[in-house]
């Protein structure tokens, strides 16, 4: 992030006025309205950035923000605000904040809130609402926002009282970040935010009914340790909860001490360094062959912070069919929801791993017994390598583009993606070593997620941390208007469009499972993305062959501001390995004709 204050947050005149008014700091301005209480509550939580779009019912809150030091980033669309806040939460670990007005503003947030909910990302949404007296009357720009967002929030609030609205916002913030993280929402009726009050919000705290577990039951830990100690073919499956729970250090130490191979889920990317010998990278539908072989043949599977999504498990009847499952999760409802847990360990990921470690230390070191298994796993790595063909006379391969960008950037570079084939190549062919460097839409699979997420990620990232956004042509078009925000805020983001003139994943499925009927998947009508980038004020490049890749990447990475490289890739390239939906992990297809055997 550049040091300069984003232009939307403070005018020069205001900055000057603030400078001459230093004495005011000794006597902070008290809360005067419900809206100023909301802003004070946000300030108290340490929030830095708000992502939003203004509008009628939320105007009192915007008015209160006028004198606040909080940085408001005006987004082009509320969906962008929600994704930016979501990504901010993933990269920083603290809840991202998004704002919208009532009615269409609130409903436009819905996709982003649902996305954060599916991926357990910490986020808080503040929505304007029509005045209390109008609620239920189908007033202009009225929507039952708490009703609409009930299934997609961790909890939500209708703030009906100006004296408590600040505390409600604080509670929403606390609930979003504690325990299993997730999005919360506070609906703010306009009369409440306009009403006078001088009640200062208290410390942000969760309600007394909310008590996330910390340590797992000792007997359960002992039983799980017995099983791990007796195993011959154990694997660790690290999910997004390892990263959310700040347990990567514990997990890495545990895996290395006992030399247990580590598979990650897609949200778990970065939990374990992919360049480590024990890493098998990602399992699941487009995971590596070796990860899927290991998950199929293991005898103990230690799942940490994963919800066993169907994109990971394939058909549940064939998932890890011979394994005892040890499941570590902070959310008891995840235990035995999709895959039965033989050893449920409910608690904070880092603490439970330490408990397991302590318990295993009391037993003879089992790692020698795993040696044969480790050899087998390495053999699978050789047998099923991640590879692709790059003859010079072929159209540009997307995998090569991902590798070149990976080479051109540092290890701590944050990658964000849209959803589709490009998303799969972006995780398959980039080498992730650090947590919070992979930002993607997993559970909901939201096309268009990449660019607004890159904006939130860039503002959350360290100053010298690069952000690369991979998008597909179809996905990029869905939220391309957020380029205006990246340009206005001068965010140094490199957008790599893997453009195959298709919604490629749909085309891949049509070819594989619908006899090649490419209904509505051809996107030959896409605009010239380089020119469009320039029209927005960003730097634009077009690359259609191998020779142009490195120069364009170098220029884009060096450019201080948003740049877009439109890579015209092989339109027929597909994502492999592939486990068809509901299939067996061990029966992945390595090429098109394998699909017929499944």
């Amino acid at each position: 992030m550049s040091e300069q204050v984003p232009p939307t947050t403070q005018t020069e005149a205001e900055a000057a006025a603030a400078d001459t008014d230093e004495g005011a700091e000794d006597a902070p301005k008290g809360v005067t309205t419900g809206a100023s209480s909301v802003v004070r509550a946000l300030e108290n939580t340490g929030a830095e950035y708000l992502f939003g779009v203004q509008g009628g019912a939320i105007m009192p809150v915007y008015d209160a923000l006028f004198h606040s030091d909080l940085n408001h980033v005006t987004m082009a669309h509320e969906q962008g605000a929600a994704h930016a806040a979501d990504a901010f939460g993933i990269v920083s670990g603290d809840p991202g904040v998004c704002l919208a007005t009532s009615g269409p503003g609130a409903t436009n947030l819905v996709t982003g809130i649902a996305d954060a909910s599916m991926d357990s990302d910490p986020m808080i949404a503040l929505t304007g609402q029509v005045p209390t007296d109008f609620v239920g009357n189908d007033a202009f720009q009225e929507t039952d926002t708490t009703g609409v967002t009930d299934p997609i929030t961790k909890t939500n609030y209708f703030a009906g009282d100006e004296d408590t609205v600040g505390d409600v916002v604080g509670e929403a913030f606390a609930v979003a970040s504690e325990g299993r993280q997730g999005p919360t929402l506070v609906d703010l009726p306009k009369d409440v935010t306009q009403a006078e009050t001088d009640v200062e919000p208290g410390e942000a705290q969760t309600p007394d009914t909310y008590n996330p577990p910390e340590e797992a039951d000792d007997d359960a830990v002992e039983a799980a340790a017995d099983t791990i100690a007796a195993a011959e073919k154990p694997v660790i499956l690290a999910g997004g909860g390892v990263i959310k729970g700040e347990a990567t250090d514990e997990l890495r130490a545990f895996a290395r001490e006992y030399e247990i191979p580590v598979i990650t889920t897609m949200p778990g990317i970065g939990a374990y360094p992919e360049d480590d010998d024990l890493s098998l990278e990602v399992a699941g539908m487009h995971g590596t062959g070796y990860a899927n072989m290991a998950i199929t043949h293991c005898d103990v599977l230690v799942g940490v912070g994963t919800r066993f999504d169907d994109r990971l498990t394939g058909g549940v009847d064939s998932f890890a069919p011979e394994a005892d499952v040890v499941h570590v999760d902070i959310d008891p409802a995840e235990i035995s929801k999709n895959v039965h847990a033989d050893y449920p360990l409910i608690g904070d990921a880092g603490r439970v791993i330490d408990q397991l470690d302590d318990e295993l230390d009391r037993r003879p070191d089992p790692s020698d017994r795993y040696a044969e298994w480790r050899e087998q796993v390495q053999a699978w790595k050789t047998e099923y390598p991640m590879d692709y063909a790059t003859p010079d006379d072929e159209p540009l391969k997307p995998q090569f583009v991902v590798e070149v960008l990976d080479e051109a950037t540092d290890d701590d570079t944050v990658v964000t993606t849209g959803v589709g084939q490009h998303q799969m190549w972006a995780f398959q062919f980039w080498n992730y070593t650090e947590p919070r460097t992979w930002v993607s839409s997993h559970g909901l699979g939201t096309m268009g997620y990449g660019l607004p997420a890159a904006i939130g990620a860039k503002l959350a990232a360290d100053d010298d941390q690069s952000v690369v956004c991979f998008e597909g042509d179809g996905s990029f078009l869905m939220t391309i208007q957020e380029l205006s925000v990246a340009v206005r805020e001068n965010l140094d983001i490199t957008v790599a469009v893997l453009n195959n003139e298709y919604v490629g994943m749909v085309r891949q499925w049509q070819d594989g499972f619908f006899e090649g009927r490419r209904m509505a998947s051809e996107y030959s009508w896409c605009p010239d993305f380089a020119k469009l980038a320039e029209a927005f004020g960003a730097q634009g490049h077009t690359v259609a062959d191998y020779d142009g890749v490195e120069d364009a990447v170098e220029a884009a990475v060096e450019y201080d501001g948003p740049s877009v490289i439109d890579f015209h890739i092989d339109p027929e390239e597909n994502v492999f390995p592939m486990v068809p939906s509901g299939g067996k992990n061990g029966k992945f297809a390595l090429q098109a004709d394998h699909l017929d055997q499944l």
Partner: protein, 196 residues
């Protein structure tokens, strides 16, 4: 579809014999272990505030838990309400329903009641009033009473277990039932044991 990777074809790879059932439970290849649905009574204490019932019923409908009945009312503590839910689910489903319910922030506690718990339901049965004496007699056999009578109809109140109410409703059919309304099950653990 073009493109491909080196490696053995799917059928050339070794595959383990194990398997799991549709609930993800590892099973013996020789044994099918599919749990049968069972009826469970869940009791939840919740914060007595607007929107909680909607949140609970919404949760159950979107997760496809099969609600047989749902009752809600105030408790001895004015800040708390009790929801009694009867569901019919396969075994793992009951556990999942409990846990999902516990996740709702306004929910204070959830328990599954013992099958021997006191379970009561109330019904009002409105029948033709041609033979009020007989209606009253039948009502008394079920420990109920007539609560309203007009020239044309008699309305009887019956309280008891679900099975008793089913039986009573069946018996009253001889008087030509006009309308029936039933509450869901309300339940408390027996004896001094607290229904949390």
């Amino acid at each position: 579809m073009t493109g491909g990777l080196p490696g053995a074809a799917p059928d050339e790879r070794p595959h383990p014999d194990g398997r799991r059932n549709s609930q993800g439970v590892r099973i013996d290849p020789e044994v099918e272990a599919e749990p049968e649905p069972r009826r469970a009574v869940l009791s939840a204490t919740v914060k007595h505030e607007p929107g909680v019932l909607a949140a609970v019923s919404g949760l159950f409908s979107r997760r496809q838990f099969n609600i047989e009945s749902l009752t809600v009312g105030p408790t001895e503590d004015e800040n708390r309400a009790r929801i009694t839910l009867v569901i019919e689910e396969p075994d793992p489903g009951v556990e999942q329903a409990k846990k999902q319910l516990e996740k709702l922030i306004p929910v204070i506690s959830v328990t599954e009641l013992d099958p021997s718990a006191s379970q009561r339901e109330l019904a009002l049965i409105k029948v033709d009033g041609d033979a009020p004496d007989q209606v009253q007699s039948v009502a008394e056999m079920y420990g109920g009473e007539a609560v309203d009578a007009s020239q044309e109809t008699v309305t009887v109140e019956i309280t008891g277990s679900r099975q008793k109410i089913n039986a009573a409703v069946d018996t009253f059919r001889r008087f030509d039932i006009r309308e029936v309304v039933r509450t869901g099950t309300a339940a408390l653990e027996r004896g001094a044991e607290e229904t949390r």
